[in-house]
């Protein structure tokens, strides 16, 4: 490796030269010339127009996106910049939400005005984050990860079983039922009680957090965090105050999560233990990883992709389109050559037709059921074998087969890969039509888990990030 003793700027120079070449080059050059402040303003402005055109349900989805974007940006501080794997992040989110719910609902007599409760909650979350960072003085990597994961588990168990804890008289968390009737934020006598207002509130908060973090990122602290991530021992030798920086990263991340939690409690007029499960933690991670660790715009874009995908999956027509589009895109990126791509597509159709003929010849017409999606159904009817619900077990086997096929495709090359792709793609379509399209929530879980694995292997820098230079 010729990177030894080379600093980051030199190591990336080749990449910079390449950046403006090719058909994307001019666009990139134009984009890079715009100061990032204006980009942020443009982004916020465009997003700000969204509620004017969207339905209430659409605005609700927009709120989910913004919540996730805030969380991803906060998590980015700990994981992307300081390089510590924090699996307890979702607990800070829950802490903020529960704290807000407790002090702004009829659940308990305490009732604080928003301008008191929000600063208190943000500071309290930051302190909790700092407290949880204490183990990071001694524990690194996996140990810290597992420790924070324990913390998240302890949090959820405590919240769920609070009334049953020994020596507890007032029921602080409402146990498994959570707290309902939470009052919305109220600023200067202005209640933020509609979806539209919450959307704008979140947009303003997001803008503030982005500006704040961008400045932190460029400051000494941001640089020190990166030094910590690359090699904390070396950083310590350069007199970087490692422990204090770790604590700061945790505190900043936790404060952002706590703040976001208060908005969640306000938006959904309640908090429930199920808002803060591992599933949601993985969702935040998927958003962050998809967009690219360490990049704020990446975190926002990842959040949009991750938060919108379940909504698409819920709508069968859109989900069908997305699936086939993704399949074709995948074929194009994997095979690259037009001849191979067309032969796979024709091969899948032919293969499907033969399988269908054989299946009908063996089991009769009863095996065919209606396709899920009205538009594609005529097209699919000709060659995709659609089983009735009774043959559920067949699609389970097909799922295992499809996974095996995908793994086999990864290890093969050339025409072998093409030959393997034909049955694999067919089985994947079969599984999609018979199982995945019908189970959007499970499909989402598969997708998010898969995103983490695939992104790490194929594009660890995320969709938009630049390649990280390993300097040894």
């Amino acid at each position: 490796m010729s990177d030894i003793g080379v600093d980051r700027w030199v190591a990336e120079s080749e990449e910079r030269d390449q950046r403006y070449t090719g058909w994307l080059g001019p666009g990139r050059r134009l984009l890079d010339r715009i100061p990032s402040g204006w980009k942020l303003v443009a982004f916020l402005g465009v997003v700000g127009l969204y509620p004017m055109f969207a339905s209430q349900a659409g605005v609700r989805i927009g709120i989910t996106v913004l919540l996730l974007a805030m969380l991803a940006i906060g998590l980015n501080v700990v994981v992307g910049w300081a390089g510590m794997l924090d699996l307890g992040y979702v607990a800070f989110y829950g802490f903020g939400a529960y704290f807000y719910a407790i002090v702004s609902s009829p659940h308990l007599p305490a009732h604080w005005p928003t301008w008191v409760s929000i600063p208190v909650i943000v500071v309290a979350s930051a302190l909790l984050g700092a407290l949880l960072s204490l183990p990071s003085r001694r524990l690194i990597g996996d140990y810290l990860a597992i420790m924070t994961l324990f913390f998240a588990q302890v949090f959820i168990e405590v919240v769920r079983n609070y009334p049953r804890l020994p020596g507890i008289e007032t029921d602080l968390t409402g146990g498994p039922n959570g707290i309902t009737g939470v009052e919305p934020w109220e600023l200067f006598g202005f209640a933020i009680d509609t979806f539209n207002r919450n959307f704008y509130l979140l947009l303003v908060l997001l803008g503030l957090v982005i500006v704040l973090l961008r400045n932190v990122d460029r400051s000494r602290t941001g640089i020190a965090w990166r030094a910590l991530r690359e090699d904390s021992l070396a950083a310590a030798h350069m007199t970087t105050p490692v422990n204090r920086l770790k604590m700061l990263a945790f505190a900043v991340g936790a404060a952002i999560a706590g703040l976001t939690g208060t908005v969640l409690a306000s938006v959904q007029v309640g908090v429930f233990p199920n808002n803060f499960l591992l599933l949601f933690l993985i969702t935040i991670y998927a958003a962050l990883i998809l967009g690219g660790l360490g990049s704020i715009p990446g975190a926002v874009i990842g959040a949009i992709a991750v938060a919108v995908s379940p909504e698409i999956l819920r709508n069968p027509t859109a989900a069908g389109w997305l699936f086939y589009l993704a399949l074709i895109l995948l074929l194009v990126t994997v095979l690259r050559e037009p001849l191979r791509i067309t032969s796979v597509i024709i091969g899948v159709a032919g293969f499907g037709y033969l399988v269908r003929l054989a299946a009908v010849a063996i089991w009769g017409d009863t095996i065919l059921g209606p396709a899920n999606d009205a538009f594609l159904s005529e097209f699919l009817d000709a060659w995709a074998l659609i089983l009735g619900p009774a043959q559920d077990i067949a699609s389970s086997y097909a799922f295992v087969l499809a996974i095996g096929g995908v793994l086999a495709v990864i290890v093969t090359k050339g025409w072998w890969r093409v030959a393997l792709l034909i049955p694999t793609a067919y089985v994947a379509i079969f599984v999609w039509e018979n199982k995945l399209a019908l189970e959007p929530s499970i499909t989402r879980q598969l997708l998010f888990g898969g995103v983490l694995v695939v992104m790490m292997a194929v594009r660890p820098q995320g969709l938009l990030g630049t390649r990280r230079v390993e300097i040894t």
């Binding site: 524990l139 588990q153 079983n161 292997a457």
Partner: protein
């Protein structure tokens, strides 16, 4: 006293399973220096494989073959499925990341774990299954040990675990491949320079670790009954802690840690509270991690820049 002894047997059974799981964590950590988050899911699939074999053979009530054969086939099925998944994980989720930053394989492992959980949910639905082991081997088949009687299945579990651990210890100490595993956990680069096929050793480590997890899965199904798609997560966490408590990378440590966690859990459930069982076990672990992160039998790690 009798209750206490009963709980001790309980803890011993539970601890044997945790120990088997912990061995997988510990071995993988030893060679790759990273935590295989998806190990709990490998164990869960082992339990389901055992259930599948049992169902194919006619279920606990209408078994078509003798009980001993059914049990053997269940264990074999679980070992095949689990080690297959383990090796696939290594090949596709972890191997591309060997040279990546420290976080990459961890994130990949979390993703894989989540993916496997969802896959199990898709394949087996959210209903929990039961081996119905008391139908398979009636509870009357018990040995009387002192004042208490112990169901033979529990004895089978404990004995199998002990035998496996002895075999593993022998394998790591004495066999050629075991020596290679130790060399790798000492220094991967140096081992590669000495002509050890690193990929092969890592695959074998995953194979053995996952096979043990599969055996553990069937054991849990036999003794504790419930098999469901989330069973791997908490068990995996506890087993990892067992590995840490014993000293990660150390094989006797993993066994010791597994037993300790098993006892802690059994006594907590019996004498303090079953609701807070996980809470207390995790609390203990947090404290332990803080006080002695290298565990009872672990070597202190020397940090190098």
């Amino acid at each position: 006293m009798e209750f206490f002894l009963q709980q001790t047997v309980n803890g011993l059974t539970l601890g044997s399973v945790y120990a088997l799981l912990a061995l997988g964590y510990s071995m993988v950590y030893g060679v790759l220096k990273f935590l295989n988050f998806a190990h709990g899911e490998v164990y869960m699939f082992g339990a389901f494989a055992g259930y599948g074999v049992l169902t194919v053979l006619g279920g606990a009530a209408g078994l078509a073959v003798p009980v001993w054969l059914a049990l053997t086939l269940m264990f074999v099925g679980a070992v095949v499925v689990s080690s297959g998944i383990g090796v696939a994980l290594e090949r596709f989720a972890y191997r591309p990341l060997r040279t990546a930053s420290r976080l990459a394989p961890l994130i990949s492992a979390i993703g894989a774990s989540f993916f496997l959980q969802a896959a199990a949910l898709l394949l087996f639905s959210a209903n929990s299954r039961s081996y119905q082991a008391p139908t398979l081997i009636p509870i009357e088949n018990s040995l009387t040990v002192g004042p208490i009687s112990v169901w033979v299945v529990r004895i089978l579990v404990i004995v199998t675990a002990v035998v496996l651990m002895i075999l593993l210890t022998w394998w790591v100490r004495a066999s050629r491949m075991g020596k290679a595993v130790r060399a790798l956990s000492y220094d991967t680069e140096a081992a590669a320079m000495m002509g050890i096929d690193v990929d092969r050793v890592i695959v074998i480590t995953f194979l053995i670790g996952s096979a043990l997890a599969g055996v553990g899965g069937v054991m849990v199904g036999l003794v504790f009954g419930r098999v469901f798609h989330l069973m791997g997560f908490i068990a995996g966490l506890k087993a990892f802690t067992a590995a840490v408590v014993g000293g990660i990378g150390s094989i006797p440590g993993a066994m010791l840690g597994g037993l300790l966690i098993g006892f802690a859990e059994a006594y907590t459930t019996a004498f303090i509270s079953s609701t807070f069982q996980n809470l207390i076990v995790f609390g203990l672990l947090i404290v332990f991690l803080l006080v002695r992160p290298r565990g009872f039998l672990g070597r202190p790690e020397v940090a190098k820049v």
